[in-house]
Amino acid sequence: MDKLPPWADAVLVPLISLLLAAALSALVILGIGENPVEAFRLMVEGALLRSAGWGYTLYYATNFIFTGLAVAVAFHARLFNIGGEGQAMIGGLGVAVICLYLPWPHWTLALVAASASAAVFGAAWAFIPAYLQARRGSHIVITTIMFNFIAAALLNYLLVNVMKPPGQQDPATAVFPASTHLPTFQDMFATEAMPLFRGSPGNVTFFLAIAACVLVWLLIWRTRLGYEIRALGHSESAARYAGISPVRTIVVAMLISGGLAGLMGVNTAMGEAERLTMNATEGAGFIGIAVALMGRNHPMGVFLAAILFGFLYQGGAELALWTNIPRELIVVIQALVILFTGALDNMVRAPLARLFAARRRAT
């Protein structure tokens, strides 16, 4: 098939996919008798035109950066980690254990320890599927799906039977001690004169997510391990021939992927709820798939796509508040983005490739 110029591959294809998804979403909104232009205006207003809206948008984006990076790293090794949801749940457990059962003098120390713990817990949850894929050829997609359900059952059990304080009704841990509460954007940037980000959950974890983007970029394109991961993703036989151990690389790539997904728990449990609740992940693990596909598995792309989905999430909440459009609209948009950027990629790409080839011949 004809090749596309790199800029078209990186920018044009995702953009067209996004436009297709947006057009179909607009049709859906029309179909349920609402005005898509008005809906879009409400979303922009609620998510981007107020600082509190940005606080929410960036809070959601933080989640999606972590899960998007998790999916992207696995994709580089041609592994489809659909278990980000479960790994993030278990990552949250890692955060709760650190915050509840150890005394912390200051939030910075607690953040370091909780992040490490979240990453280790998330990675541990990815280990069994990774090992089974690498050693026994069990399909990682199926095992990670199964581990999502097992994680939900495990978390449910722990919250209801072990970690719930006596006398409390809802399945959640006790509130974390005040010394582990992370500063929100409001704490950091609001002044008396300028009350920014009021009441929004965006917090310092966002910067941790940006750091994760940089580190993942370094890992994938500037280290030997990253080279091995990409080599394995391109061709397992060639990688093996070059002396790269597929077993080791698969396991390590999945551990990194699970660790990144686990880090999302820092944002939800420590940054927002300040305790561990049952449905803290809210499907963010799955949105990571859309984010990674849309961002072409590049940290910069993941970052931008995560902001976009953060906007959609916050905008969707605003829509649900002011119109008759339920939040599930976002799930539809997410599905369409996954469909067009992931599964129907060739449908978008093939006509473009022909177009570019014709232009090249003409000049």
Binding site: F80, F147, N156, A343
Partner: protein, 321 residues
């Protein structure tokens, strides 16, 4: 546990196993033809919604079933378009379909009924009635076998019996007809089928469409048979359990029946007993919930015989030129 309780548990096992079985056979057709389908969940969900919605609007469960089948087949064709025609990633397509169904059902339900993403409760002709098998009343007093026949075998909705009949039918179609042979061949070695002059694309679309029909039956049963109406996310992971059962059954119809009955039993027990007390050792209900998934991982790990999927599964077929 006395005999009556046992029968009750088995009775709900059959009911709960039916949607799993139909979805599992749906996946069987698709995957035997080389198209991996993790969108069973989404297809069931959309069929459940449209069955319940149309049944609620018209009062006819048959029209509901028709709507469910159509909606499910449409999603199947989207999956076919992505994975057969445009040679996209079948797993990603399946994921997209699951989300599409999860979002659309609630969106449309809210628009049509305004009840927070559910349909009104179905009554009368909007639901499948229970069928009493012949002589169930007269045979009921016979010890042991009488209640077994009257309570367990008799008194289910028609889709339960359809589901059970689908097992031999699937076996017959796949292993005793020319279509079945070709369908299995296209999942193992599509190039051979192509060489023989049979359309790989046509066969795979046929398999995907059958998958859609069976998922439609499963979803329809869920909303208009097992329960009386649609609620959001009502499939609750059944599509994935069906997928697990398919692997458990190693892609064989009779084994699929066994696997689905086993997973149905687990659900029935979890539903009836919250926590199981085994003399000091308590099995929490969450473990029962997770057991199908844990069992599947164990099977996949190859500790209980190796589960070998169809060889060309997940691979789009590219004709050589």
């Amino acid at each position: 546990m006395d005999y009556a309780t046992l029968l009750q548990v088995l009775d709900s096992t059959v009911r709960l196993a039916t949607p799993l079985l139909l979805a599992c056979l749906a996946g069987l057709f698709s995957e035997r033809a080389g198209v991996i389908d993790i969108g069973l969940e989404g297809k069931m969900l959309i069929a459940a919604f449209f069955s319940a919605a149309i049944a609620a609007a018209t009062g006819s469960v048959w029209l509901g079933l028709l709507a469910g089948l159509v909606s499910s087949v449409i999603l199947s064709l989207v999956h076919g378009l992505a994975s057969i025609t445009f040679r996209g990633n079948q797993l990603i397509s399946g994921v997209a379909i699951n989300f599409l169904a999860a979002g659309l059902t609630v969106l449309i339900a809210q628009d049509w009924f305004g009840q927070g993403g559910r349909t009104p409760s179905l009554v009368g002709g909007g639901r499948w009635g229970d069928i009493t098998l012949p002589f169930a009343e007269t045979l009921a007093p016979v010890p042991i076998l009488g209640p077994f026949y009257a309570e367990l075998l008799s008194g289910h909705s028609i889709l339960v019996y359809v589901g059970l009949l689908m097992v031999p039918l699937t076996w017959w179609v796949l292993f005793r007809t020319r279509f079945g042979l070709r369908l299995r061949a296209v999942g193992e070695a599509p190039e051979a089928v192509d060489t023989a002059g049979v359309s790989v694309t046509g066969l795979r679309y046929a398999a995907v469409a059958i998958c859609g029909l069976l998922c439609g039956l499963a979803g329809s049963y869920l909303a208009t048979g097992l329960q009386a109406g649609f609620v959001r996310e009502m499939t609750a992971g059944r599509g994935y359990i069906a997928l697990a059962a398919l692997i458990f059954a190693k892609w064989r119809p009779w084994h699929a029946l066994g696997a689905c009955l086993l997973f149905g039993l687990l659900q029935a027990v979890a539903l009836r007993y919250q926590n199981i007390d085994l003399g000091g050792l308590t099995i929490p209900v969450q473990l029962m919930d997770a057991l199908p998934y844990i069992l599947t991982v164990v099977i996949l790990a190859g500790f209980v015989g190796k589960a070998i999927p169809p060889r060309a599964g997940g691979e789009p077929y590219v004709k050589e030129r």
